[in-house]
C-alpha cells in the first residue's frame, strides 16, 4: 500500500514536471519576453543588457530549472500587462473560483445522484423519461445560454437575485469569501446554478449507468433469488456499490468545472481565475497564461491523487490486491 502511494506520488511529480516544461516553453518561445517588456525607444544595448539580466542567454536546461525552482518557491513572476506579481493576482482570485466550483459541484452531486438512482430503478416511468429528455436538452444548451436564461429569469424578470460580480465579501486573512454575507450568498446562487446544471446531467448519467450495471450483477440476482425484499436489495446491496465510482466522478468533473468556470465567470463577471485567464488570452499576457496552466494542472493532479487515496480507503478489494 505504501508502495502504491509512493508510485502515484512519483507519477504526479512527473506530470507536474511535464506541465511545467510546457508552460516554460510557452513562456520562453511564444512572444519574446524582452520585446514585450521594452518599448520601441529602448536601445539595442539596453535590450541586450535586459536579456542578460533576465538570464535569457543561459543554457535552456538551466533556464528551465530556474523557472521550475521559482514556481516551487511560489515566485510566479510578473504579468506583462499589469506588471503585478502573478502570485498575488492569483491569490486574490483563487477563493472566488474555488467557492464557485465547490458549490456548483455540491449542487450537481446533491441533485444528480438521487436523480440517477431514481431513473435507473424506474427506467420506464413517466418521471424518469421526462428527466432523461431534460438531460438531453440540458447537454445541448451551452453553459453560457443557461447563464443568460437564469439572468433573464431571476435577475431581470423577477428581480430576485443579483447577476453581476460577487456581492459583499468578508475577509478572513487573505481569503475573501462571499459565503458569509447574505449579499454574497445571493450573488453566488445564479453562477453556481449555471455551472452546476451542466455537471448535473453528467453526474446523473454516470450514476444511472453504474446503478443499472450493478443491478445486473450476480450478487444482486442471487439476493433476488433468495427472496430478499426489494427495498433492501436496492438500498443495502446495490447502492453502496454504486457510490464507489461517484468518487471518480468528482475527480472527472474537476476538469469540466474548471473549463466551464471560465465561461460562467465571463457571463456573470465573476472575478475569479477563469476571468483572469480569459483576459490574459485577450491581451496575450503569456506569463499569466503559463502560470494559470501550471496552477490548474497542480489542482488536477492533487485531486486525482486524493481520489485514488479515497478509493483505497473505501474499496476493500483494492487493498487486498495491492498487498497481494
Amino acid at each position: 500500500m505504501v508502495g502504491f502511494i509512493l508510485k502515484r506520488l512519483v507519477q504526479s511529480v512527473f506530470v507536474m514536471l511535464a506541465v511545467a516544461f510546457l508552460a516554460f516553453s510557452l513562456f520562453r518561445f511564444v512572444g519574446d519576453p524582452v520585446s514585450q517588456m521594452t518599448g520601441v525607444e529602448t536601445s539595442l544595448e539596453d535590450q541586450a543588457r535586459l536579456r542578460e539580466e533576465l538570464g535569457l542567454n543561459d543554457p535552456f536546461a538551466l533556464q528551465f530549472i530556474r523557472f521550475a525552482g521559482d514556481l516551487v518557491q511560489g515566485d510566479f513572476g510578473y504579468s506583462f500587462r499589469t506588471r503585478e506579481p502573478i502570485g498575488e493576482m492569483l491569490l486574490t482570485r483563487l477563493p472566488a473560483t474555488l467557492e464557485l466550483g465547490t458549490v456548483a459541484l455540491l449542487i450537481s452531486l446533491a441533485v444528480g445522484i438521487p436523480a440517477g438512482i431514481y431513473t435507473a430503478l424506474r427506467p420506464r416511468g413517466l418521471v424518469s423519461q421526462s428527466i432523461l429528455i431534460g438531460t438531453l436538452i440540458g447537454v445541448s444548451i451551452p453553459t453560457f445560454v443557461i447563464g443568460i436564461l437564469l439572468i433573464f429569469l431571476f435577475g431581470v424578470q423577477l428581480g430576485w437575485l443579483p447577476t453581476y460580480g460577487r456581492g459583499d465579501t468578508v475577509e478572513i486573512g487573505w481569503w475573501r469569501t462571499s459565503l458569509l454575507s447574505v449579499d454574497g450568498l445571493r450573488s453566488l446562487v445564479l453562477p453556481a446554478l449555471t455551472l452546476g446544471l451542466f455537471q448535473l446531467t453528467l453526474t446523473m448519467r454516470l450514476v444511472r449507468a453504474q446503478m443499472m450495471e450493478v443491478m445486473r450483477t450476480d450478487h444482486i440476482r442471487f439476493a433476488i433469488a433468495r427472496g430478499v425484499p426489494w427495498r433492501r436489495i436496492r438500498y443495502r446491496h446495490a447502492l453502496p456499490n454504486t457510490m464507489i465510482p461517484v468518487v471518480t466522478i468528482i475527480g472527472l468533473q474537476f476538469g469540466g468545472v474548471i473549463a466551464f468556470s471560465i465561461v460562467t465567470e465571463s457571463v456573470f463577471q465573476w472575478p475569479g481565475m477563469g476571468l483572469l485567464f480569459l483576459e490574459s488570452i485577450r491581451f496575450v499576457d503569456i506569463p499569466v497564461m503559463s502560470v494559470y496552466l501550471v496552477v490548474i494542472a497542480f489542482f488536477f493532479v492533487f485531486i486525482n491523487l486524493l481520489v485514488d487515496l479515497i478509493y483505497l480507503a473505501i474499496d476493500p478489494r483494492l487493498r487486498v490486491r495491492e498487498s497481494a
Partner: protein, 302 residues
C-alpha cells in the same frame, strides 16, 4: 431500385417509427438548407453596409407592435435584418464546425486505425497523447491554442487567420473521440478471420485498413461524427461568445448572442433571443439524431 432497397432496411423502418428522430431530421435539414443557401434566400446581405440603414434600427419582429413586413425577425441597432444575420451566422458556424469535425475525423480515425492495427509502441504513444488530451477540457485546449497563436503570429496575420485558427483549435480538441472509437473497433476486427486472411495473402496494411476494416467500423464512427458536430457547433459558439472566436464584422451565432447580451436588460429581446433559440434548436436536433443513430448501431441498447 436502390431507393426501394434502402426503404426496406431496418434503419428506415425504425426511423419511420420514431417521431422525435423525424422531427429532428426535418429541423436539421431546414436549418442546414437555410444556412447553406443564405446568400440566395436571405432577404439582405448583413456584410453589405449599403443594404441596411440606421433608420430601420431596433425594429421588433413582424408579429409585435410596430413590426415591419420587410424584417420578419426584427432588426438590430444598425438596422440589419435579424433573419439575414442569423442565416449568415449559422452558415459560418456550420462551415467551421463541419470543417473542424472533418479534420478531427480524418486525424482521429487514421491514428486510431493505425494504433489498433499495429498495436505495440505506436498504440501506446497515441493512447497516452489521447489521455492527456482527454484530461484537458475542449474549451481550455481551444482557448490555449488561440492564445498561443496570438502570441506567435503578428496581430494583422492573426486577424486574417482567425477562421483557420478557431477551426484548428476545435478540431484538435475533438479528435480523441474518433481515435479511441476507431482503435477499439479495429482491435475487435483485427482478430476476425477476414482480416487474418487478408494479412496471410500479403495485402498491404494500408489496403487492409482502408478497404477491409474501415467499412466495418463506420457505424460507431458515424455516431461520434454526429455528436461531435453538435459539440463543435457549441464549442465555436462558446469561443465566439467569450470574444476569442471570430471578429464582430463576420458574426457567427455565438458572436450574435454576445452582441445580443447588451440588450438583455432592455426591451429589444429579439436581438438576443432569436440567435439563441436558433442555436439551441439546431444543437438539440443534431443531438437527437445522434441518439437515434447510437441506438441503431448498438442493438443491445434497444
Amino acid at each position: 431500385m436502390m431507393l426501394a432497397r434502402l426503404m426496406q432496411t431496418e434503419g428506415v423502418w425504425l426511423f419511420s417509427r420514431n417521431p422525435a428522430a423525424i422531427l429532428a431530421a426535418i429541423v436539421t435539414i431546414v436549418v442546414v438548407a437555410g444556412a447553406v443557401l443564405a446568400p440566395w434566400i436571405a432577404p439582405t446581405n448583413p456584410y453589405d453596409l449599403s443594404s441596411f440603414s440606421l433608420i430601420d434600427g431596433l425594429l421588433p419582429p413582424l408579429w409585435e407592435q410596430g413590426g415591419d413586413p420587410r424584417f420578419l425577425l426584427g432588426t438590430d441597432d444598425q438596422g440589419r435584418d435579424m433573419l439575414s444575420s442569423i442565416l449568415y451566422g449559422a452558415r459560418l458556424s456550420l462551415i467551421i464546425a463541419s470543417v473542424a469535425m472533418g479534420i478531427a475525423l480524418v486525424l482521429g480515425v487514421s491514428l486510431g486505425l493505425a494504433a489498433g492495427f499495429f498495436g505495440g509502441r505506436l498504440d501506446a504513444i497515441v493512447m497516452r497523447v489521447a489521455d492527456v488530451q482527454l484530461a484537458l477540457p475542449a474549451i481550455l485546449t481551444a482557448l490555449l491554442i488561440d492564445g498561443i497563436s496570438r502570441g506567435i503570429l503578428p496581430r494583422e496575420v492573426h486577424d486574417d487567420l482567425r477562421l483557420a485558427v478557431i477551426t484548428l483549435a476545435i478540431a484538435l480538441s475533438l479528435w480523441v473521440n474518433f481515435a479511441r472509437t476507431a482503435r477499439a473497433s479495429t482491435f475487435v476486427e483485427r482478430n476476425k478471420d477476414y482480416v487474418q486472411a487478408a494479412i496471410m495473402m500479403g495485402q498491404h496494411p494500408l489496403r487492409i485498413m482502408l478497404r477491409h476494416i474501415l467499412p466495418n467500423i463506420v457505424g460507431p464512427l458515424l455516431v461520434i461524427a454526429t455528436v461531435d458536430l453538435a459539440s463543435a457547433i457549441l464549442l465555436e459558439a462558446t469561443l465566439s461568445f467569450l470574444g476569442v472566436g471570430l471578429p464582430a464584422d463576420s458574426p457567427s451565432l455565438g458572436t450574435l448572442i454576445r452582441i445580443g447580451m447588451q440588450y438583455l436588460l432592455s426591451g429589444e429581446w429579439w436581438i438576443l433571443w432569436m440567435p439563441t433559440v436558433f442555436l439551441v434548436v439546431l444543437v438539440v436536433s443534431i443531438n437527437l439524431l445522434g441518439d437515434f443513430l447510437r441506438d441503431l448501431f448498438n442493438p443491445s441498447l434497444r
